[in-house]
């Protein structure tokens, strides 16, 4: 599904990603962990196509073709979805309106007809229920005045509606209370299937207790310092990132 090879990225001339190699097959869930500033969000943004990043070396292939050559909207239409760490507020644009515009453009790109108003509303209601969200949030401007947790849920609601093939969730668990975490985790889990790849960027083992990943990668200073199975996350919880940076070996340790 996704193949990242030797990816180097700079921001304003400053190297942030220093040679990322990562392969994520369809059907798998990969967790990306790593200290603040290690480049997790940068990687997520580069995959989604945000401006302001210079790819100085390497390549990214998505379903066999060059992902970095596509505009952000072309990526979205091809099934790439980023749940933002800090979702943007958009005054004046109703949430339901964005959902409709997004769903229709993605459907159109796959040669599907637009949903009519009734079917659309039925779909949205079902997904809202899944996310334990109040219908009133649909009619409010996108993310405006939403609590931190509501914003995160809203991202997952969008994901549930758009049904992407590659979902990158950047710290969707941060700022959620315990109950909300369970709801969001259940929402994500329900989307786990053989055709879809999910990347979870997280700082906490808690999310991974609900969604057990196939692989865990630890990013440090713009590189994947270590990769392993779900037990790597538990190891990190116990020892902290210092353990990785100090380069000490661990029984589970293996190359990326």
């Amino acid at each position: 599904m996704l193949e990242i090879r030797n990816l180097h990225v700079s921001v304003d001339g400053k190297p942030v990603l220093n040679g990322i190699d990562l392969t994520i097959p369809a059907g798998e869930v990969h967790a990306i962990m790593g200290p603040n500033g290690s480049g997790k969000s940068t990687l997520a943004y580069v995959l989604a196509g945000r401006e302001g990043y210079q790819v100085t070396a390497g390549e990214v292939r998505y379903q066999g073709s060059d992902l970095l050559a596509l505009t952000p909207e072309a990526r979205a239409r091809a099934g790439v979805f980023l749940a933002f760490q800090y979702p943007v507020e958009i005054p004046g644009v109703a949430n339901i309106y964005l959902l409709k515009a997004a769903l229709n453009s993605v459907r159109k790109a796959s040669g599907l007809a637009e949903l009519d108003a009734m079917d659309f509303l039925a779909l949205i209601r079902a997904k809202l229920k899944l996310m334990g969200m109040d219908e009133a949030l649909l009619y409010r401007p996108v993310n405006q005045g939403f609590s931190g947790g509501e914003k995160k849920r809203n991202e997952i609601l969008q994901m549930a509606v758009l049904e992407p093939k590659l979902a990158i969730l950047d710290e969707t668990d941060s700022g959620l209370d315990i109950d909300a975490l369970k709801v969001v985790a259940d929402g994500i889990s329900s989307m786990r299937d053989a055709q879809r790849a999910i990347v979870l960027v997280t700082h906490y083992q808690r999310l991974l207790d609900y969604i057990v990943p196939d692989r865990v990668h630890v990013l440090s200073q713009g590189r994947i310092a270590r990769s392993g199975g779900p037990e790597l996350a538990k190891e990190l919880e116990r020892h902290g990132y210092g353990w990785i940076d100090a380069g000490r070996s661990s029984p589970m340790g293996e190359g990326p």
Binding site: A48, G49, R50, E51, T71, P72, E73, R75, A76, R77, F81, L82, F84, P87, V88, I90, P91, G92, V93, L98, K100, A101, A102, N104, S105, V106, A109, P141, Q158, L162
Partner: protein
């Protein structure tokens, strides 16, 4: 004043004065003649004058507009039907003259008098005497004097005490003939605790230059609640000069919306005097400019007595090489304690060549007051654009949607559903195709 300009207007006056409404009434003739003298003395405003620094009306001065339409109105009922707002009481003016055949007024509720100025001057001119003789005050501009001299029509609306008119009144001013200047004056008096909505709607039907010079005077008795919205869709080459002058009595409430969508050179003055204690006004506005349009809004709220409230919310979206001006003046007189005045003006520049001059002008002479202002000038937010694109909207759709949303914030403040829907439709019509498909 340039002698050629003077000669033109004097010759036009000599040519048509006897055919203007009220010509058979001595005081009307005298008032017109006095106004013409005043116009000659004042001339057109120049950029040296306060309040006209950014707006040159030289193109108006240099046009030799005819002051009278040459032919009978050639507007069809179908054209009118397309512009009529659903549920509104409609008065249609073509080239500055009321056309009764196009204005099938239903029976009005008791206590509402609604007629054209021409009709009022023909039937019973006396009640208009004070208003028309005093129309050109000390601070008047040449445009006000010109309007008084060549006054051809307008609306007289009178609401008796406690009358509540639910249906909005739509004053539809259609411009069909090129090369003419029209002068209308709307005279509105709302009695104690009465309530009504007037939508002044200017539409240009051709694409040649003409000039609209329109004044609306509104007097609100105590407790009256009045709404005046102005929807301006003049032709791209048109000149549009408008003044809205409001006097508010005690505890009265006034809501104004100025939507400037058309016109080549546009100047709108809105002047509100809070003369009675506890009066409140809300002034909303939206200007959308492109090409080489020039749109200037000057608002002035005069807090003359205690406990007045004025809240202003103006937004502008500027594209092309257009230019807009927003000048919001607030005067709080020494007696006007506990005044509450707030003003916001936000501008979105879609092009590097577009230019905005925004200026709050606060003159506060009382100490126990709450006054504030804020102005912003900016571009679309790249973070918001990226967020929308990451959801599958293309760049044009994302920009169009954000632009629409920026304007919608003002439109949403209009409680009248018919007006709101019309404004949304107009805004949609101006959006790129990518957005039209979505909306």
């Amino acid at each position: 004043m340039n002698p050629e300009v003077r000669d033109h207007y004097q010759a036009e006056f000599a040519r048509i004065a006897t055919r203007l409404p009220g010509a058979e009434v001595a005081w009307v003739r005298a008032a017109r003649a006095a106004a013409l003298v005043q116009f000659v003395a004042l001339g057109f405003p120049t950029r040296q004058q306060e309040g006209w620094k950014y707006t040159s009306v030289t193109p108006i001065e240099n046009s030799r507009f005819s002051l009278r339409p040459s032919a009978a109105p050639r507007v069809t009922a179908a054209q009118v039907a397309e512009l009529a707002l659903p549920g509104a009481l409609l008065l249609v003016f073509v080239d500055g003259r009321h056309v009764p055949e196009l204005s099938p007024l239903d029976l009005l509720p008791e206590g509402v008098r609604l007629t054209s100025v021409a009709e009022a001057l023909a039937r019973d001119p006396e009640p208009l005497r004070m208003l028309l003789e005093g129309a050109v005050g000390l601070e008047a501009t040449g445009f006000a004097a010109l309007n008084a001299a060549f006054l051809a029509d307008g609306t007289c609306l009178y609401l008796a005490e406690d009358v509540v008119l639910d249906a909005p009144i739509q004053l539809l001013f259609l411009a069909s003939e090129p090369g003419i200047a029209t002068h209308c004056h709307n005279l509105i008096r709302a009695g104690t605790r009465s309530s009504a909505v007037v939508i002044e709607h200017h539409v240009g039907l051709g694409d040649e230059a003409y000039c609209t010079n329109c004044i609306t005077d509104i007097a609100l008795a105590s407790g009256a609640q009045f709404t005046h919205h102005k929807l301006q869709q003049e032709s791209a080459k048109a000149f549009h000069i408008a003044a809205v002058r409001v006097k508010q009595g005690q505890d009265s409430r006034f809501h104004s919306g100025s939507f400037a969508l058309g016109g080549g050179l546009v100047r709108v003055d809105i002047h509100v005097s809070l003369d009675g204690e506890g009066a409140e006004c809300v002034l909303d506005g939206l200007y959308l400019t492109s090409g080489r349009q020039h749109v200037d809004h000057h608002t002035c709220v005069d807090h003359a007595v205690p406990r007045g409230t004025s809240h202003e919310f103006y937004k502008g979206i500027l594209d092309g090489a257009s230019r807009a001006v927003f000048n919001g003046k607030v005067i709080v007189r020494p007696d006007a304690q506990q005044s509450d005045a707030f003003q916001t003006n936000c501008n979105l520049l879609l092009s590097e060549k577009a230019e905005i001059d925004t200026k709050p002008q606060l003159e506060i002479f009382a100490d126990d007051v709450k006054c504030g202002h804020g102005a912003t000038v900016g571009q679309l937010d790249p973070e918001q654009i990226f967020y929308l694109r990451s959801r599958g909207l293309d760049d044009a759709a994302a920009r169009g949607l954000l632009t629409f949303a920026f304007a919608a914030e003002v439109i949403e403040r209009m409680p009248q559903a018919a007006l709101k829907q019309r404004l949304e439709a107009l805004l949609r019509g101006r959006s790129p195709d990518a957005v039209k498909e979505l909306l």
